[in-house]
Point group: C2
Chain length 171, copies 2
Amino acid sequence: MVTSPKNLAFQHHDHTQCIDSALASAQLVCSERGVRLTPLRQEVLQLVWQSHKPLGAYTLLEQLANQSAIGEQRKLGPPTVYRALEFLREQGLVHRIDSLNAFIGCQHPQQPHQRFFLICRLCETAVELISDPLTAVIKTVADAAQFSNEGASVEITGLCPSCRSEASDHV
Amino acid sequence: MVTSPKNLAFQHHDHTQCIDSALASAQLVCSERGVRLTPLRQEVLQLVWQSHKPLGAYTLLEQLANQSAIGEQRKLGPPTVYRALEFLREQGLVHRIDSLNAFIGCQHPQQPHQRFFLICRLCETAVELISDPLTAVIKTVADAAQFSNEGASVEITGLCPSCRSEASDHV
DNA sequence: GTGAAAGTGTAATACTATAACATCAAATTT
DNA sequence: AAATTTGATGTTATAGTATTACACTTTCAC
């Protein structure tokens, strides 16, 4: 069977490509919009993209302090990372996963969209989807209730393909 | 047009009925399952049901301490209310709204179900929906990614019918 | 009744997020 | 280029949300 690009993050893949492409997109998007992707913001974006696992703000803060050139000499506080995350979210480069209090790089930063995620409870990988049928049903449901839909978040929890097969291996 | 029962909570209604029916359902469900709806748990459920607005755990704690017979003599801490909420959630009597860190009474406690909400950003009312099409699309999306869907949460944010018309009144 | 299990009390603490104000850097104006 | 303004970051403190750990009590099964 052909692997759908949708669940690529659940497979082994060349993650360097993910990071590179995310950084390139971010550069492009920010210069188009005339907003500044400062070194700090870029570093936070890079940290968020180190994996497909959502990371908490304090984890990012710690890594920023310990693993990055930026944190070498500065004493960083929570507002620093929260502000960077807020900027990245405004630009649609990062999403927050409400059920995890954690942040993840946006996999479709080009256009604005609702937030649909598949979240594996074992490997903690989160995959972002774009689904027209899901978007359509949400619109239908909201319309039926005469509710003006300004934004939506869908978080689907369960086991990803890899963790499913591993789980069945160990029965 | 006929008002759908779905968005009843957005309309004026006899909320006493909501509370009574929720408590009756809870009694029934708990006795059927052989679990104990203690006075504390019942009080927390009642507080959650005082409105259709999700409430934070610390708000509930404060009300429990100040407004209920239970809180009169005891000195209550956060674990007390969190444990009651955990129990009520396990029994499907209460849901947590992740985007608000808040809790709301379940409007369909009879059967297990996924969590679909319309959340008004003005009046803060949250309405729970059961939508077969939405359930079906989520299943389809998960299946397509070979993802085992164990639970899902959909939080749709915007303006409810009442707040929409009020907003347009004041233009 | 006695013991086991479930429920609650209590103190301490961990985790998540923001407010407020100071400082610094970049861009714009003059 | 100096002055001005704006945006970005540093820093301290605090607010808000949730859990751990252990003591005590109540309920239920036997």
